[in-house]
Symmetry: D2
Subunit: 147 residues, 4 copies
């Protein structure tokens, strides 16, 4: 099954850092981000926040794509990233695989690798699934808690 | 004690998403990021990756500022972020407090709040401290593992 | 406000490793565990799993005490522990402070210290709050997902 | 390659909660824990701390087995566990797979499942590798920081 990738996936913040979603099905979402100097920390390595951002986007997209048809919404609840090897050139490759599809939370395992296929970072991403009420937060200064 | 904030703190990725470091001493680093649409995810909330990015930058800066004089370098090892309340307007406020200053790892607690002072996200950031050899990775395609 | 500490808090697994809950109010739960050889890993230090266990128990107890009157139940969703300093003798001291009380998740910060008051480990604990249906899982081999 | 499983693996805390290590090679360590009431939290489910404990033990054992021949020692640095499905009867099955073997840190992915092979919890475990000086902490009240 191929999932429709919403246009929003590459607008806003995802567009700012350059995420391109290249594949999405019921269990896996893949994306790439070209390395550029604007994504680096002072020592010249890709900033760890970029990996966390990619992971959240892929996991959120994968969850939203499947729960939105039921009128539900997905929102990041927690993420944990371990940084293992720096990336300095080429392309950042990311693959998110779903580990758990519960009634109220989904858990994803996201792996980041370099052009040589070496594992550079891993993220455990937990996404909350709700009945959509949290969506009313949009654009309000006095937004309610996410969860 | 006031620490010198390196100019690099607001170049590269930090400049892309708009981090401004406003204070740094031996135990605390504070920064702000103005909200803008380019930092949002599809539902109109600030993307969780922005919080993780801010946390990593403040904790890394706080560690580097103190270990660099001894010829050591700091590099992110792991981060864990819990998302609690969305931010949609105004300014993102972040404060990093050091919990542990070990020989090889430093641990920081980072709290993100909105203009009303409400806690919106928390990050536990672990920074590895090494003798600087990892610094040679800079700009090399075949960089060694970070840790 | 003092919360009633349920007797169950020191039965089952908590009794096995020796948790004693010594105080609980709306925002803080404190407990202690006496060090004994049965709680150590092969190198003679208190096993990291003990800290994670204490943290989950205090955070779950603190949440349950406050949501149970509304017919809701609390169940651990995720935990993250950073180990900073070993404990080998004396008493393990733990204090859990609530960071977030949401509709469906509560987040706690748990700090573990030794007899000298030094910070030895920190846990970020996320507890899911639900309407109690998950409670039916009790004692069933074919239990449903927790969340 | 089969690794020798040290006798210590099933003494101390591991013996208390009932860990049996059943297999260990260069990349994978497997263990089981029989369910019993002493391992449960008040609601009758296996306590989440048991999963975190198993994960730390398997990852630490897998690392120690491989770095000890070089005179190095392994010590838990951080763990993150996501709880997905309760276990109430039978046997807890755990498998740890190494994701990263760095100079100073190893990262493991640990999966916990029930008798039906369903994924019940996942742990990301980071183990610090050092030259053994931390080992002197053993049995001292004034132990130095772990890392």
């Amino acid at each position: 099954m191929d999932l429709k990738v919403p246009d929003e996936a590459t607008s806003g913040y995802d567009a700012l850092y350059g995420l391109e979603v290249i594949a999405a099905d019921a269990t896996t979402v893949r994306g790439v981000v070209p390395v550029r100097d604007e994504l680096k920390q002072p020592a010249g390595l890709i900033h760890g926040g970029v990996y966390a951002s990619i992971a959240e986007s892929l996991a959120s997209l994968g969850t939203t794509s499947q729960v939105a048809p039921d009128g539900k919404m997905a929102l990041g609840l927690a993420s944990q990233t371990s940084f293992m090897r720096p990336i300095t050139v080429g392309t950042i490759h990311a693959e998110a695989n779903v580990l758990h599809r519960g009634r109220t939370t989904w858990v994803w395992d996201v792996r980041i690798s370099d052009d040589q296929g070496r594992l550079c970072a891993v993220t455990r991403m937990t996404v909350a699934v709700s009945d959509g009420r949290a969506g009313r937060a949009r654009g309000r200064a006095d937004a309610p808690p996410r969860h």
